[in-house]
């Protein structure tokens, strides 16, 4: 599927390029913007990013596959990231990982059939002092317990069913 940036997003990318003496560094921001617009980063997206910034598509591909936050497939509406690194692990990170895995019936980098949820086991997110933690999309949820996780997930489901009801 062909991909074109919206004019607004093109403007945002142009704004990003102004930070740097050359256009290339804006590739990282452009990819975020593309992911926001398209949901994930397809090969068409990479091509368009390359064109917009005047760099090669191979360069864009190399960048996309290097960084974990660029997704090459559509993730769920709620992308749940669970930290299991040491500080979280010591405070129950794996229990939460297993809890969410079971509850959603998903494994690492899997997406639910209805595209509502996806799950990722992530490396340290910098919340060691408020461990264990998860992040849902861009938001951190810290100082978690099994009960809190249950509450959060139920909350998400409730929001979803409310939206569908409307």
């Amino acid at each position: 599927m062909e991909f074109k940036f919206t004019q607004e997003n093109l403007n945002r990318i142009e704004q990003e390029t102004k930070k740097y003496p050359v256009r290339k560094p804006a590739v990282m921001a452009a990819l975020y913007i593309a992911q926001e617009q398209n949901g994930y980063i397809s090969y068409e997206v990479m091509k368009e990013v390359a064109t917009v910034l005047g760099i090669t598509e191979e360069e864009v591909l190399g960048v996309v596959t290097f960084y974990t936050m660029y997704h090459q497939k559509p993730m769920g509406k709620y992308h749940i990231q669970v930290c299991t690194n040491v500080s979280c692990m010591l405070r129950g990170g794996y229990e939460i990982w297993n809890q969410i895995k079971e509850k959603l019936g998903l494994d690492h980098m899997a997406v639910s059939a209805d595209q509502k949820f996806s799950l990722e086991e992530v490396e340290c997110m910098g919340s060691c002092g408020t461990a264990p933690m998860i992040a849902i999309n861009e938001d951190y949820y810290e100082n978690l317990s099994k009960e809190k996780v249950e509450e959060i997930l139920n909350g998400l489901s409730a929001t979803l069913s409310k939206e569908e009801g409307v």
């Binding site: 290097f66 960084y67 299991t84 040491v86 340290c124 002092g129």
Partner: protein, 440 residues
């Protein structure tokens, strides 16, 4: 104790509050002095880098060429990805203007017109918080061209945030620069060093967020004041991030040289259920761990930790109680470095995976005593042979954990174990066993 970085002032993150508490006065003062004066004061203050290597900050600045046709750059490292580290986000959230003020003073000192703050992509919230602070600073004429008017100087500089996208290695300074240039975050071969050949081939200085945030106070209160705080060879305060098995995990700003036991028991509230401490990693997962029975008298600064065979790193203190499964912890750490190895150079690309696989095998009950030696050997074969310090970061926890908890690890493995051996094919040359005697 006076706090330098995170003082107890309400709403200090707001520009008005910051200014009404004397904010941006240090910058004003700095612009009445020469850049060399600033570098000199920072040198004399003894300020050392807070990003892990504890390199002398003023010395690093002095490496920047005085005469060059090229633009110079300042990079502020807020990648903060070392497991156990969560201090820079406190500065972004609670005292961003002090870092911004530090950035403009540093730019002035090293002659940079542009500063980039590289922040890990996961910190969406803190990127927004810092961006708001930067926008406010621009609006109030503390950053950008309007600085000239505000401070009555010919100098001005810009500050931009560059958002990372999920790669621990980008906290390594040369990798950070490649990432900032929009490339794969591959560390660069050194020399040349950033001061000669940094961003886009131009002279560049890279400092940690916390390091930069110290600068305004040094200028404001003088280098002597700063050098008298904490350990004389590593002065100032540190933002200790305490995590793991403590009652009150969090960030504590304390003078360098504070007793590790004080951090754990006095500030972080001790270990839950009064359990014994089995192991402490004092500076983020890549630093050599210390045994729980060797904590007495250990002081938290670069020099003191070196003496006990560890390092200050990012000051991220991870506490593990007596019930912790150290093999699992080590396997998790090994997994992290395996996951984060950029894959550029051989020892790290191949060695990190090997370490993880051995540890996973031990957890699966298929490890033997010889595997413990193998772990140390593999770690030693990575250490010192790589392009960047991720090699050491991956090797040290394995090597020192196994060495220092040898008794513990030996209990977890069998004396000997017979494994299907996949790769004994060319071992005959070394052992020179007659063919007829070769089994398997």
């Amino acid at each position: 104790m006076e706090k330098i970085l995170l003082p107890d002032i309400k709403n200090l993150h707001l520009i008005d509050v910051y200014v009404s508490n004397g904010g941006y006065n240090a910058a004003k003062k700095a612009f009445t002095q020469t850049p060399d004066d600033i570098i000199d004061q920072v040198k004399k203050s003894g300020l050392r880098g807070r990003g892990g290597a504890a390199f002398l900050c003023g010395l690093k600045w002095s490496f920047m060429p005085k005469t060059t046709d090229k633009p110079k750059y300042l990079c502020i490292n807020g990648d903060e990805s070392e497991p156990g580290s969560f201090k820079d986000r406190q500065i972004f959230e609670f005292n961003p203007h002090q870092m911004i003020e530090g950035a403009i003073i540093t730019c002035y000192a090293i002659g940079a017109k542009t500063a980039y703050v590289y922040i890990r992509g996961e910190y969406h919230k803190w990127i927004k918080l810092l961006q708001k602070a930067i926008d406010d600073a621009y609006a109030n004429g503390f950053v950008g061209e309007k600085m000239k008017e505000t401070f009555g100087t010919n100098f001005f500089c810009d500050i931009f945030i560059h958002k990372g996208a999920g790669a621990y290695i980008c906290g390594e300074e040369s990798s950070l620069m490649n990432s900032l240039e929009g490339k794969r975050g591959y560390p660069r071969v050194k020399p040349p060093f950033p001061a000669q050949n940094g961003l886009w081939g131009c002279p560049t200085t890279i400092n940690n967020v916390e390091t930069i945030a110290n600068v305004p106070k040094i200028i404001e209160k003088g280098w002597e004041w700063f050098s008298n705080i904490g350990h004389p060879k590593h002065p100032g305060t540190l933002l200790f991030g305490v995590s793991g098995h403590v009652n009150k995990p969090g960030v504590y700003e304390l003078p360098t040289g504070t007793l590790l036991t004080d951090i754990i028991y006095k500030y972080a509230g001790g270990v839950p259920n009064n359990k014994k401490v089995l192991c402490v990693i004092p500076g983020g997962t890549s630093m050599p761990p210390i045994r729980g029975d060797k904590l007495e008298g250990v002081r938290m600064d670069a020099e003191s930790l070196k003496e006990v065979g560890s390092a200050i790193g990012t000051g991220g203190v991870i506490v593990m109680d007596e019930d912790t499964d150290l093999v699992k912890v080590l396997a998790r750490i090994a997994h992290f470095y395996h996951h984060e190895s950029c894959g550029q150079c051989t020892p790290c690309r191949e060695g990190t995976g090997w370490l993880e696989k051995i540890l996973k095998r031990i957890i699966a009950g298929k490890g033997s005593v010889s595997d413990l030696d193998l772990l140390i050997t593999v770690a030693n074969q990575i250490e010192g042979n790589t392009i960047c310090a991720l090699g050491e970061a991956a090797a040290w926890p394995v090597k020192f954990m196994v060495e220092r908890f040898r008794d513990y690890f030996e209990q977890r493995v069998s004396k000997e174990i017979s494994l299907p051996v996949a790769n004994k094919v060319h071992s005959m040359r070394q052992t020179a066993v007659p063919l007829a005697d070769v089994k398997n």
